[in-house]
Symmetry: C3
């Protein structure tokens, strides 16, 4: 048995900022809902022969979430589901959120009407929560409102941003990163908005308006999060390669841009974080889905990215397990990786302690200007 | 010396289904033939200064095949060749095939006229063998036959499929995955077939007819194997990225689609296996050529792919060493990887045992509907 | 404490050929210059909140270069800078170059007017140095000279090549690898040269003339180095994927082509080294910037690439630390990786010793026809 080092103790105890997360479920659901929530990429119900438990994420839930529910680690899937079913989603949320060791949740509210909002996450976790405003949602609100589209977009964005800490774009899901991402002219925006409103103004896919929203986000100056890579199959994964953002990034000025998830492009994202003073990355969502392979992924996040440019998030959505598991797997993974760097003589233990603090909370506190608690 | 665990014993003993393999040589050849067979990508003879032995595959042959021939592990290349030369290819086939611990061979018969066929593999190995029908070969047979191309293609395919367990396409070698992969109209097929027959009807590269064949394969409903990634340089490797199949997969229905080889796109392939109920992957060919790096590759296969979607194959072709070595390297690699997961506390030993069985044979038996022996 | 093995001793002692390097600084500079030199990708000054020391390269400098200056390993950034500042750049160059264990430096002289040239590197290091001629620099010299462009290019190239050992192209920085890379006609070259000269003839980006230069390099027959992958953000990294070179390589004949840096495309580059008798690769630049992650990268370089096709370089430029650190990290990394292969039973210790010699110097001596010392 290896002795507990200062590094291990420190990683176990550090309070994280989860810089990109969604709400957890509030209402009861069946086992199919739960198992499907363990698969991110598939947009259809899992096949009869399959089980959401038979994946790295499913194994990680059984290994690391079961003890939170009083079961032994690696409890059988059936036992896990049975035990989980004894609790309401509200109870599960209180349990898992408060076990996460997170001090601040930055909540993308742009998806899911049946999950906890910012205030609910705050109440359930006992921590602080802050909003991230989704630009495509602002666009959809502007399309439904009367008056000039661009002006209305600006008004809604500024109103919502007043109490928010950042913005987010899901351009990756609305056609991807390739092609022109420059700012469109006012006339182009007006024409495109008129066309879109005529078609109902729902689920924005118009490139002109997507570009308009992105540049409004840049101009606002709050950190702008971008979905990159891994997600569900509505996204063309090869068009979600962050290298396709190069021209956009070259003209993005000083607004912090945060590349989210990044799998399997985490090395490309790390390169961009080195190449641009305003580019950051995290490995949220991916770390949960990689389970036992999380350490290998976390190690790749630590290649070309400067250490002041790496953030933590869980991207939890739905089962409250995910909000907790993100922190558990990150703590396990960063320990394994940094322990290896120290043991090899490449880093000092002090280096490792400092980088843990930067990724866990220091970088996020700086980028999002979060007050110390 | 670490104790032999149940996991190690189980992996050593499990009987595999090799779900994609070709014939082994039957007739004698010189050392140049052998060394060139240790290089997959090069289509020209190896340079004077080079040796097929000086590669991961070459080192693996010396490490793991030499003992099968009664030599010490890591025997010198010269000694290995000398010892191998004492045997006929038939003797080598009997030796290596029967040492592989494989119960069923699924044989792609679409390449090589001087290698063992299905019946010969059965006889030489003492195991069962089943045919995989190559769609482009069916096309070439239809082009040579009289009558309506589409009808003839369908007749040949159904006749051959009656005794086969799957189909295979080498679209990756015939222009790659990018571009339209929808089903062409009957008129388009007739026109394209007429043009191709006028040109002699050999080595199909016509996109209309390739698309036609793919969709006939889908409609047949047997598992459809696709060459993905690593192969020889006739393939444009960047057009063999499986993410380019996204639109095709979105319309592929329920027919199982098996992504073969996958290097260096194994993480992308794993993502697709998560995204589509009907998508599977293996790491055949790649594992042999990666030798000592096999464990790292096998670990990446175990990232996003659900565990009921991963298969084993060797893709052995030519030297019978490859049919054996695939199993040796897979056993070594999966043990290393799963042992690590268990030791880290992320998986239980029971989890590992069960996933071994799924990949070794359970998934393949289910997908190809192979009767238990 | 593990015993020192023959492999460890051999790796520590082997004299390297650094097959791609630039000059080190000769004149004093401030801390900002030094810290910016620890970031490759960014073309702007590092942000106020950032530090070049807070990266894998920065940590590696503190870990491995500090002892060369008489400091303990992992010295604080402030202490490192203070100690470094006590020396002139000339003194630092003498110290770090002579500590590198390099016998031959192959110097790309096409960048930087304020760094050491071939003769200076020879004098400062006490080793041999040889020139690599940059084809785009030859083009720019030809554009400034009177007379027929193509003839002048040829004259300059042959004159400079008489005392050089290879050529280099930075096509990756001048539009990337995608698109037509065939040889242009004489008429096309003349027209393009005329247009370019009219525009001043600086910083070549004209595709016709870039292609012309490449094919002149091929025809010359000296090894032709190509920047691949990782570099600064002027390069569109997704257009620096070496797979886009496939058509060019298929027609490149016998001239050795050396793919440099390769991150994050080192697996694709390894594939090309297997696919073409005349293709080689190295991991220069990347190994320095990866620091503690160097072993993982070196392991990937050892996947599909035949062992007679892998070379060593540092790509050092600016701080003399980089010329030394490349060798330190390569020795550490290759030892870690090969030790693992041997311990796993996949390679013999003799295999490892031989591959060390091939990568360290044997392959480079053969390719560049360097006389034994």
């Amino acid at each position: 048995m290896e002795p507990v080092t200062e590094l291990a103790r420190h990683i176990e105890g550090v309070t994280l900022i989860d810089q990109h997360v969604h709400g957890c479920w509030l209402a009861a659901g069946d086992r199919a809902r739960f198992e499907n929530a363990l698969n991110e990429a598939n947009t259809e119900p899992l096949a009869e022969f399959d089980s959401g438990f038979d994946s790295q994420l499913g194994f990680a839930v059984r290994a690391h979430c079961a003890p939170v529910l009083g079961l032994p680690g690696h409890a059988a899937a059936e036992d896990y589901w049975e035990r989980r079913s004894r609790h309401s989603e509200i109870e599960l949320a209180r349990l898992f959120l408060s076990s996460a060791g997170v001090g601040d949740w930055l909540v993308d509210t742009g998806v899911g009407s049946d999950v906890a909002g910012v205030a609910e996450l705050e109440a359930l976790s006992g921590n602080r929560a802050h909003e991230i405003v989704r630009l495509e949602e602002v666009a959809e609100q502007a399309a439904q409102a009367p008056g000039d589209y661009a002006a209305t977009f600006g008004e809604i964005l500024h109103r919502r941003a007043a109490s928010a800490v950042g913005t987010k774009s899901v351009l990756a899901y609305r056609g991807g990163f390739d092609g022109d991402l420059t700012e469109p002219s006012a006339a182009e925006v007006a024409r495109a908005a008129s066309r879109w409103r005529d078609r109902g103004g729902v689920r924005l896919r118009d490139r002109v308006l997507l570009r308009f929203g992105l540049h409004q986000g840049l101009r606002l100056g709050l950190p702008l999060q971008l979905h990159v890579g891994f997600g569900d199959r509505d996204c063309d994964l090869y068009k979600a390669n962050p290298l396709l953002l190069l021209d956009f990034l070259r003209r993005s000025g000083d607004t912090p841009i945060v590349l989210l998830h990044c799998y399997p492009y985490e090395r490309e994202a790390g390169y961009l974080a080195q190449a641009f003073n305003n580019v950051y990355l995290d490995g949220g969502l991916s770390i949960n889905h990689l389970g036992a392979r999380g350490p290998a992924f976390i190690a790749r996040l630590l290649e070309m990215a400067p250490f002041r440019k790496i953030l933590y998030s869980s991207d939890g959505f739905g089962p409250a397990e995910l909000h907790f598991l993100g922190t558990r797997l990150w703590r396990n993974g960063i320990h394994r990786v940094l322990r290896g760097f120290v043991d090899a003589g490449d880093w000092s233990e002090g280096d490792a302690l400092r980088v843990v603090d930067l990724i866990a909370r220091g970088n996020a506190a700086r980028v999002y200007r979060l007050a110390a608690r």
